[in-house]
Symmetry: C2
Subunit: 330 residues, 2 copies
């Protein structure tokens, strides 16, 4: 392996002079030496040793991306898109990206400290541990979609509540009167907010949605049971994600129920698949690319200026109308 020392010896200068050239402090080195050193670096294929650099600088060029969970978390297209957007953006800035799937809080600190990560981006629900994570890790930490009550938090989220509102209004405008919601209501603020926005808006318009119509993801494996449990015949279902929406569509199809003929459905996320597969999905769109880039930008800013104030950024959502909601004539 070629080291600074090797280059220095060959150039007949000290290690420090080479180090300066490598780090672009060219104003501090004579032109003659710069040229000579750069040539040798190129010829030898010298690559700076980041482990040595990090040890010396007490900080690395590593950005850690932490996805909640311990299985294949990228099967979820939302997670995959987020991570996939972050990778090239982080690379572009000269950082290296470590990817972690973590369920256990202790692992986060361990993994961040082991490599002296320069910063971290969190994908998934960490609401419960935000405070502890912050206390143990004095580096910029950017959360996404957090509804943690911690006041000093760097977070990028979307207007989940509004998403619910838009879905409810759309159904109402299309003449629907009986509603259901499907999502993991217990696990995250995100889903809770989508539900709240949906339910509040229904009530504002004089409709109610009884508890039996609020379903967990796992329930839809047994659609017959669901339909039986409904207090009245449901025509409009709001799914907490696009993938969930398609899962519902397929499960109901087994019973001979078709979307949008027998049921109307609105998804959430606005994934490309919603426009690539039938029925095209009416959905609440969020700009995942923008969210990912923004998370990175804010992280970079906090790395450059640790005194930059924390804050919660909320991106807008919008309804995209496609083919999964039927108009009911009254």
């Amino acid at each position: 392996m070629v080291t600074l020392k090797d280059i220095a010896r060959e150039a007949g200068v000290s290690v420090m002079t080479v180090s300066r050239v490598v780090n672009g402090q060219l104003s501090k080195v004579s032109e003659e030496n710069i040229k000579k050193i750069q040539e040798i670096i190129k010829k030898r294929g010298y690559v700076p040793n980041s482990t040595a650099r990090s040890l010396s600088a007490k900080a690395s060029n590593i950005i850690s991306v932490i996805v909640q969970g311990s299985g294949n978390e990228l099967i979820n297209p939302y997670n995959a898109t987020m991570v996939g957007e972050i990778v090239p953006y982080v690379q572009e800035k000269g950082y290296y990206l470590m990817l972690h799937f973590i369920d256990n809080y202790d692992d986060i600190t361990q993994r961040l400290r082991a490599w002296n990560a320069r910063g971290a981006i969190f994908i998934g629900t960490f609401d419960h541990d935000v405070k502890k994570i912050q206390q143990d890790n004095r580096i910029p930490l950017v959360f996404t979609d957090s509804y943690s009550s911690v006041r000093q938090i760097i977070n990028i989220g979307i207007d989940d509540y509004k998403g619910g509102v838009l879905a409810a209004k759309h159904f109402i405008n299309k003449g629907h009167c009986s509603f259901a919601f499907v999502g993991r209501t217990l696990t995250s603020g995100v889903i809770q907010q989508r539900l709240n926005g949906f339910r509040d808006t229904l009530e504002e318009h004089g409709f109610t949605m009884s508890t039996e119509h609020i379903l967990d993801e796992s329930d839809i494996q047994n659609p017959a049971k669901i339909i039986k449990s409904f207090k009245e015949p449901v025509t409009a279902i709001f799914a907490a994600s696009d993938t969930l929406a398609y899962s519902i569509i397929e499960n109901f199809k087994k019973l001979g129920c078709r979307v949008p003929d027998d049921y109307s459905i609105i998804g959430f996320d606005g994934l490309p698949i919603g426009n690539c597969v039938s029925p095209h999905l009416t959905t609440i769109y969020q700009d995942i690319t923008k969210k990912a880039r923004l998370a990175c930008d804010i992280l970079f800013r906090h790395i450059d200026d640790p005194s930059f104030p924390a804050g919660n950024t909320v991106l807008d959502v919008e309804l995209i109308e496609r083919d999964s909601v039927k108009t009911i004539e009254t």
Copy 2:
């Protein structure tokens, strides 16, 4: 930050004794000291500094996963699934995972060397650069889906040719007589092999597929033009991936053509989506989880024993019959 030195001081022993405990060389330390040191480590929340370790050991605990491309490479569900399977498996073994999207060959060596990566797994087409990559990086390198002509290569692939054979036979069995193929034929051996298996089998059974019926992915944006270019009316289309298959289905739908009524289609990969969305896709299934795990296992083996021989492992594929191929009565 807590260091070995801090622990040593508090325990009244040398740094080496603590180091031994941290590294599990417990047979070399007295029970009394082990206990004392372990308690202090826990109390202080000591985390070994991996950058120091790596520098000292001249090798890191980092496995680099290198995906070919420079955009959002995880929008592709195949890539996302592969990476998503590798992450927890690598973590389980005590390694850290760096994720890179790389287009340019030089970047590979730079990124691998910078961190003294312990090994690397390649996802995507690197056939052209395998030799150079191997020459510059003396660590275990596991390629996937490579058709490089380099003899000494560690590769995990699938029987792409057989996939083509199975697709052809299935169409023929169902009474089809006129065929087309869609895929990026120029870019990779993978697609080329799928095409070869398909075409060879057709010919063995007395059918031919003219060049006009071999289409590039980009062509399907304009389905009307495609249909016009066909030498004869096609009933059977073999798509080089599931996502491509759905894309074809949607594009043809714009012309009022339905699958499988007007066209039959077979996909490739066996992604979950093929069973979650209509029409359920008849497809050539490959076990991506197995492939990912195997790539890791082989990498680990080569890390543990650098003299372990290189080799090409080929996983089987099978046809999964679902609803996208129609039977043609003759």
